[in-house]
Structures are given as C-alpha cells and as structure tokens.
Symmetry: C2
Subunit: 493 residues, 2 copies
C-alpha cells in the first residue's frame, strides 16, 4: 500500500503539459522550431557521412542572425579577442609580458591592463547593473552619438538585448496590459508577452512603403485597444527593422515620440542593428533617445523610453558572449529601483559580455596601433553585408512571384512570395502554413534554412520568408533559392 494510494490519487504524475504554467503553452517561438530541428538532423546526417541521398552537401543556416557561425565568413574583430584573451589569462600581461608583446599590439595590452585594474578577475561577480566604469563609457558613447547627456545610473548592462527585453517587460507589465508590436516583428516580443499574459497589439508596417510605420495605423491600434478596455502600456519599435531591414525616418520617429508622450506609453526601442546601416548619408540611423531629447521640453522630459543595444549584431557579431545594455530615459526612480532589484536576482551579466560592450562603445581610435586593422575588419563586414543584401533583393525581385523590399540596414531580407492557389491547397492538405511549407521544401531541396514569415507576423493573406544576408558564396546560395523558387512556382501554377 503506497502512500500515493493512501492519499487517494492514482499513480503520481508530477509535471505534465496540463499542470505546468499555462502561459508557457501559449508561447510560440518560430526561429528555432520544426525547421531548425530538421536542419539539425540533416547536418548530423551529413557529418556522419549518412547524407548521401540528400540533394545537397551542406546545410546553409540563413535562418539565424549568427554572424560568427561555422560556415559563415564573419571573423571576430581581432582587437576584441586580443583584449579579452589577455583578461582571461592575465599572466600574459605579467610573467609572460615579453612574449606577449611579440603577439599583441601595444594598445590591446594597455586596454586589457586598464580593464584588469578596473574589473579585477573576469570570473568575479560585478555590480548587478554592470561595471560602473563601463557604464560611464557607454554614457559617453551615447552622448557623442546623440549630442545629449546620458547618465551611467540609467544604464543596465545585460546578457544580450533579449535578456534586457525580458527583464524590462517582466517589471513593466501587468497581466492583460497591451503592448504595441510591429508586424512583422522579432518573435522575442510575442513570446515574452505570451509568457507574461500581456496582450500584443499589432500594428502593421507598410511593405510597399519600404516597411515604414504610419501614425494613423498606430493611433488606430491604440483606439481599438481602448475599445476593448486594454490599456496600451508600451510600444515596441525595432529600428533598423528585423525582419524588414527598414530604417525609420526622423520625422516619423518624432510623430511616434509625441504619440507616446500624449498617451503616456513607454517606448521600447530595439536598436540592436544601429551599426548595420547601408546608406548612412541618405538613410542614417537616428536614435530614439536623440529624438526624445530634441523635442519640446515637456516631451523631452516626459516621454519614457528604454533603448536596447547589443554586441551580437553590428560589425562585432559576438552573439555567443551574451552582452548588451539598455538605457532608461525619463524613468521614475521608484521604477528603476524595481528593475535593479530584479536584475540583482540574476546576479550580473557575463563579465566578458560586459567587456564586449566596452569594446563596442570605445573602439580603437585613429592613430592607435590597432585602428587600421579594426577599421578594415569592421568596414569589410559592413560592406559584405550591404552588397549581399542588395544583390539578394535585386535577384529576388527579378523572380516571378517574388518581391522584396531592399533593406536599409540590419542583416535580413523579408521577400514576399505570391503563393499560387494550388500551393495554398497543398499546404492546407499538409496541415502547414503555406510559408512554413515553402521553407520546409526549400530546406529539403537545397539545404538552405529560412524562417517562414508567419513566425514574425505578416499582413493577412501575404506570405514571406526571412533570410539572412550573412552567407558567403552568395551567388551559389541565391542561385539555389532561385532554382527552388522557380520549381515551386511551376509545380503549383
């Protein structure tokens, strides 16, 4: 007679899908779903020599913005890695300094020494907001970028922008609060809102207008929410856009800020692609912090803003290090304290991620021994991204049944597929979204991973895929997509 019987229940069941957090079941996250699992399987088959019946000899991961991934050609920035390797093994700056000088440029050693003095061991916890000296240098970087002051105490270092978004939303949102999110959006946002039982309030970006945002569409979203008694608590904007690649014009940003001020809405600006700008003269990146501060005194001091940045994108692409920061603007101290408390439970962001942020905001200067190499590396990365992006959108636009807005920045393209009716029917038969079917078939035929537009959201009855502009061998890669797409269209037309 076991006590499970004595207490009246049947066999002990523990955790099941039916008794865990129901909000978790509501979360969907497309970037690493069925397609990624299938791609993993193919990659393992090929690695084990068992993929001889596959119609491709390698899996091309165009689904994730992971610049330093194996098979892609973005190298880490040498200066970053030199400084961090010295910090990891300070003996290189001490007993081995003479040998180290033969391998490390002077400025890398000097930078590592000064960081080492400031931080101590990179294996120790830091302040939960991040190392104060690094927060001060971030503030200086923001000031130089925007021309307006920044306060180190309003800056929190994070384990990448995603951790920052999750922390911020976790503090800011009550169950049922509405948060405006762009469609298409990066699925972190819908996933986090679902987990918090908050309500996504979609607003549509205008594809034919280069994925621009319209004030009318934002206002309509707010008024619809008001109609259903959902308070609009925050507005998420991704600029430059993911997956769209669109870069907002300053006028449009001013309208948005005014709206947030008028409505008392927190503006959440995801600006992780701020360094991935293809036409800095005609389509520059302007930060929301700068726009807020440039408005009337009332708006400049009354609009609540949180801006996210990251070392995962830009020209560094240090995703695996998990580093980033957010800056709070016009946030009440009582709320900052709550954010700090929650940050402190997770102790601190990874220290070499924090160092990465330091290297991002304070790169080598002209005249420094490492400047030329740093400049060549970062400008090559950016130039590659730009030329691939342009080539891809040109070629996609030349295909029947595909159209693609050229990107102003970021690292993705989000072409639209005009699905033939017979493809829609086939998808229905297979129980898949049409764009999901397209990406699965693309993977099966070519080994290329793309993400279906439905994972990001898209206008009703429109179908897209997101591909990165990170893949080397662009010609071959585009050629395979072209061939697949033509076959797909002729199969279903």
């Amino acid at each position: 007679m076991s006590s499970s019987q004595s207490n009246g229940s049947s066999a002990p069941k523990g955790l099941t899908k039916d008794n865990i957090n129901p909000a978790v079941l509501e979360v969907s996250y497309a970037v690493r779903g069925e397609l990624a699992l299938k791609a993993d399987k193919y990659a393992h088959q090929l690695a084990d020599g068992e993929g001889s019946d596959l119609p491709f000899d390698r899996v091309v991961t165009a689904n994730i913005g992971n610049p330093q991934q194996k098979g892609l050609d973005q190298r880490p920035i040498t200066f970053w890695r030199q400084v961090i390797s010295l910090l990891e093994y300070p003996a290189l700056m001490e007993e081995h300094i003479e040998l180290a000088k033969k391998m490390y440029p002077e400025d890398a050693i000097a930078r590592a020494k000064s960081l080492h003095e400031e931080i101590g061991s990179v294996g120790a916890y830091t302040h939960s907001k991040g190392i104060l000296g690094i927060r001060k240098r971030i503030a200086k970087y923001i000031e130089e970028r925007d021309g307006y002051a920044a306060d180190p105490e309003s800056i929190f270092l994070t384990a990448g922008a995603s951790a920052g978004v999750s922390l911020l939303m976790g503090v800011a949102l009550q169950k049922g609060d509405g948060v405006m999110i762009p469609i298409p959006q990066y699925p972190l946002y819908t996933a986090t809102l679902a987990y918090l039982s908050a309500t996504p309030l979609p607003y549509y970006l205008d594809e034919s207008g280069g994925w621009s945002m319209s004030l009318d569409s934002l206002k309509k979203t707010i008024s619809d929410a008001r109609g259903s008694n959902t308070p609009t608590k925050a507005l998420v904007i991704i600029n430059p856009g993911n997956p769209t690649g669109g870069c907002l014009a300053e006028d449009s940003m001013r309208d948005v800020v005014q709206l947030c001020y008028d409505e008392g809405i927190l503006l959440m600006a995801d600006e992780v692609y701020q360094a991935n700008i293809f036409e800095p003269e005609s389509k520059p990146f302007v930060s929301f912090k700068k726009v807020v501060r440039s408005m009337s005194k009332e708006v400049a001091e009354g609009t609540q803003l949180v801006s996210f940045h990251s070392i995962s994108k830009g020209t560094s692409g240090e995703c695996g290090r998990r580093g980033g920061y957010f800056e709070l603007t016009n946030m009440r101290e009582e709320v900052v304290e709550q954010i700090y408390k929650m940050a402190s439970i997770m102790l601190c962001p990874p220290v070499t991620g924090q160092v990465g942020v330091d290297l991002l905001v304070a790169p080598p200067k002209k005249g420094d021994p490492s400047y030329e190499l740093w400049h060549t590396e970062t400008s090559t990365t950016l130039a590659n991204l730009k030329s691939r992006s342009q080539l891809m959108s040109d070629r996609f636009n030349a295909l029947p049944g595909m159209s693609c807005q050229p990107a102003d920045g970021a690292m993705y393209l989000f072409p639209q597929i005009e699905m033939p009716q017979r493809a829609l029917d086939e998808a229905k038969k297979r129980g898949k979204q049409p764009d999901v079917m397209y990406t699965l078939d693309l993977l099966d035929a070519t080994g290329i991973c793309a993400v279906a537009g439905s994972g990001f959201g898209q206008a009703p009855d429109s179908y897209h895929i997101r591909v990165t502009a990170l893949c080397p061998g662009t010609e071959e890669y585009i050629g395979k997509i072209e061939q697949f797409h033509k076959d797909f269209m002729s199969k279903y037309q």
Copy 2:
C-alpha cells in the same frame, strides 16, 4: 491643448510603482539590499580618499559568495584560463603557436584546439540547450559520479544555476502552486516564487541537529498546504546548504525521494556546492540523482528530479562567467519540449560559461602536464575554505551570545545571535529587523559586510547572520567580528 488633455487624463504618467507588475513589488532580495548599497558608499569614500573619518580602512565583503572578488585570495584555476584565452584568440594556436608553446602547457593547447574544432567561434550562438559535445561530457561526468547513466538530451546548460532555477520554475509553476523551500534558504527561491505568484511553503531545518531536515516537518508542510488548498508542486533542497553549510545524510535523502514520489512532487536539488565538502569520508556529498536511481524501480523511474550545478562555486569560483547546467530526471518529453522552447527564446548560455562547465566536468587527468598545478590550486582552495570555516565556527562558538553550527561544506557560516531584549527594543525603535540592525552596525564599526538571517528566513524569534568563509586574513577578520559582537552585547545587555 495637448492630446493628453484631450483624452481626458492628466499629465501622462507612464510607468509608476502603482501600474507595473504587482508581483515584482512582492519580490524581496536581501543579499544585495540596503547593506550592499551602504558598503558601496563606504568603498567609494575610501577609494576617493574621503573615508578618513571611518573606523576602518577597507570594506570586507563577506556577504556574497564571490570567490574571485578583489580583496579575496582565490585565484582562477590556471588551466581554465589558459584554455579559454586560447579559444578567445585562436591566432595563439595558429600563427603564434610557436610563441604560445612557450607560455601554455601542451594539454591546454590540445584541449583548446579540440574545443575550437567542436565549437568554432566562442562568439557564435550555440544550440539553446548548450553545445552537444559538452552535454555529452557532462553526462559522462554524472555517470562516473553516480554510477548511473545520464542522457545529454536531458541536460541544459545555463547562465549559472540561478538562470536555470528561474527557467525551470517559470515553466513548472502555475500561479498559486506551492513550493516547499527550506528555512533558511537562498533568497533566489523566495524571490522567484514571488515573481511567479507561487506560494512558498516553508519547512524548517533543524539548527541544533546540524541543520538537518526532518521528514515529519516536510510531511507537516505538505498536509498544512493541503489544508489550505495549495497544491504542493515542488520541493527545493539545497545540498550542501546555503546558508547553513549542512550536508544531508543519504538516509534522509532516501526519505525525501520516497516522499516526492508518493506525493508526485518535483524535487529541485540545488547542488551547486557539491565540490565544497570538508569531510568527504564522514560526510560525503551524495547526489539526489544517485539516490533516486538507487531506489526501487517504481521510485527510480517515477520520481521527477531536476539537479542544478554551477561553475560559480566549487573550487573554480567562476561566478562572473555565468555557467552552469541542470539535469532532468524522469521528466516527460512534453515538458522537456516546453523547457527547450523557453530556453530558445534566450538563444543560448554564454559560450565561455559553457566551456567553463566543460572544464569543470573534465579537468586535467593524472599524468597530464597541467594536472599537478590544477590539483594544487583546487586542493588549496578547498583546504583554505575548510580551515577558515572551522576556525570561524570555533571562535564564534566561544563568544557570549553567539552559537554556530560547524559547516560540513559550501562556503558560509550562519551563526545565531542571542539578541538581548534591549537590542530588540532598539531595533524596533529604528524600524529595523534586529539582525539587520546588527549587520548595519557591524558594517559601520568594522567595514565587514554580512547578511542578516532574515534575508534567508529563520525560526521565529531567532536571529542569525551569514558570513562567507572566503576572506583572507581570517584572524584579523574574525577578531573584528569578535570585538564588535562583544561591544554589541555589552551595549545592550
């Protein structure tokens, strides 16, 4: 006429304490609270040369288990840092290999090369569960530790144990679910439960019995919860204990496992101090995984367990790197999938944190060039911890009005203070918990930071402080606590 007026509200307010997530307001987290802020202030004063009126010349941080912190004497393990510095700057293994060979032992280079081949750049995202090869080596380590098989697919690498606990509880718990937590406990648990609106169900550890746990006390907690219609979903055990330093006996663990099986309760075993064991012969660490697997078939295969481990503690103390893992035992695949989905939103744990776990589970072997140094470093760290811990508990026990259970492991002591009535009155007058007052006064008088027992929970009308056994200059440090304590007692007696 602004639209904020036109929509009927007064000045836009945005986020305030009254409209953010109310669960966040319920969270308390004592380890880095008022005391830590005050200590920060003193440290800055001293650094700026403005602390000449303070009765101490440095702040001693005995409040956080942060072994590599400045001012403490635990050095990073050389082999770890060598391998990681090579991975950070692979040029050391390529064009600079001849010079590198003069600074790095052969086995560090070999290990870094093999990890580099497996992982690629440490700046790239990995699988969201962590690098498969590392998960396989963790499984092997667990098998060798316990004598029972482990499955790499049931292992998730995490950004430290805290991130793992937060992920796991976030998936497992519904609002209102009860979770048994030891009193005293590490405040991560109460903080996480408050954030999730779950219900902590305290069970008291028996101080006079060396902080042991009693089956009766556990059963009473479950039956009380049942009486108030709170379902008991999980049981948290910290072994070796934080803050208590107690190490559970295997018999007692078997009772707990049987109870969890009988009641269908998830057992959450925080085993981050498993390598910090002072008497491995008489009080060895035994993992809950081993205990579960050693029970009857029914229990061995029917008890759900999650075990957490970390690189932050042990002899590595690599807190700032944020690395750890958890292993799921007997978890249903449908639940594992949900955990994986939520892990994937945060992309991946920091890669060099994952490498740290690899170095933890697969250290240099006897005969390897790095073995002797590794062995000396790790055994010195452990010996220091043990001798300091013993000296501290002996000396604390010799003080009037203080008693201290000697620790079997971990890195803390949790002495009890017999508060004189006049101290209780004074605390009331100051609006502080008596033990909080004690730690604030200790800081003011000596510069030593300790955490008040109320941050961890303690039996009613008992008062404790938690101090780490990490501080060098133990004699001087204990001497200061002794002097303060005597003064405190005579002041209030």
